[in-house]
Symmetry: none
Subunit: 124 residues, 4 copies
DNA sequence: GTGGTCTAGACCACA
DNA sequence: GTGGTCTAGACCACA
């Protein structure tokens, strides 16, 4: 399970959305798996249920999960929805690379920044 | 001159700041050049003059431009400003890498995207 | 037999009710036929027995089926039930028309859609 | 402007979403037009600003409108987004027609229901 | 002024 | 128990 960083400035809601997208990308959750209930996740993260609800609504509108009243929320088997998310992530990243290039940063330095950030992750 | 994208979600103020930084990086404006007046730029972009004013203040605090009372704002020749710009670019890029990582993109793929974009530049 | 679509957002209970009504309309079940037991259907559909029970109660209150203590539920031969089914169908259809109208679809287009679908039937 | 029916059972939020979609379909609002502010619409409809906010978020996620912090919300010029909404409406309506047909309703009766509902509108 | 996020808490339908 | 909607009200960034 992922962790929230309340001080990061990134909306809690988005952190939850991204957390589950990453979990699916990593294979930690798969199509058909039941999501934790809105209330239980809110308790676990010590946030308001409405915030979790909003995150789940975003995931559902993106086709990543679906909800059944009275039963719970489940990971969708719509792979195109998940790949659409990754496509957008790639395109956002490309824009960031172009912006960095335009300001004069070299490819070697960008590669180094990436490796530093990913190495940092390994430590955790 | 650069264009504003109101739909992008990026604050107008930031877009103006980044636009001038990029113009300087690309050599479209140089040390000593006079900046457009706050009023004229606000009219041109159809935005609130306060927003342009704020962007100029940020550029000035970063040493990119300087203002002379009664005459206007000018592009600075302060070389230390250049490194500040690069720092800002690096920090923006780091944020983009973290965002991509959070969505499950691997470092290898990011490195590949960078190399593709920089190779494309060589062709030009 | 019909299938349930958990992702559709339509309450499971309603889907079961509609499924049997449709089966009767299509002649797949007839007056006197025994209904599957609540438990067996719940197992088959992997839903809560209470949900099937509720669906059967709705079907019974509509005169579509009747239950005999200790023996099970059976398809009714009550003709008045048929008109109740049609009433329900009409009211569902009216809701669909209102929804389409609210989104700006015109009556001419709706009439055309109907005619297209019914012409398609003639071919079969 | 459209009106809300608080007794209808249809979520207020959806009524607002559909209201604007219909207004766009009818040409009452066009690409680039500024939407009423969240607060002013909440006041006008006597509903909570959060409810309007949610409706606007749904419209934005569907590409119907876009928001600019500090400036307001505007009708998008993404026509494909609007036609996607209409496409879904058509497909929902087709499903309703098929369901009605399967239960034995004739095309003449369905056409009559449509005309009755649309005539009712004319009176208003 | 504008939109965006979040908490707190109520109430509903559905299983 | 589950998710969904809504109100009330606070606080934030941005223009």
């Amino acid at each position: 399970m992922f962790v929230l960083d309340l001080k990061s400035g990134v909306p809690i809601c988005d952190q939850i959305v991204n957390g589950f997208i990453k979990m699916k990308a990593l294979g930690l959750i798969s199509a058909g798996d039941q999501m934790p209930s809105v209330r239980s996740l809110a308790l676990k993260f010590s946030v308001n249920p409405n915030t979790v609800q909003k995150a789940y609504a975003i995931l559902e509108s993106g086709g990543i999960i679906y909800s059944v009243k009275g039963r719970g929320s489940f990971v969708s088997d719509d792979e195109s929805a998940h790949s659409a998310v990754l496509d957008r992530a790639r395109s956002d990243f490309k824009a960031a690379v172009s912006a960095a290039r335009d300001l004069g940063l070299g490819s070697l330095e960008l590669n180094k920044i990436i490796n530093d950030i990913y190495k940092e992750e390994e430590k955790c």
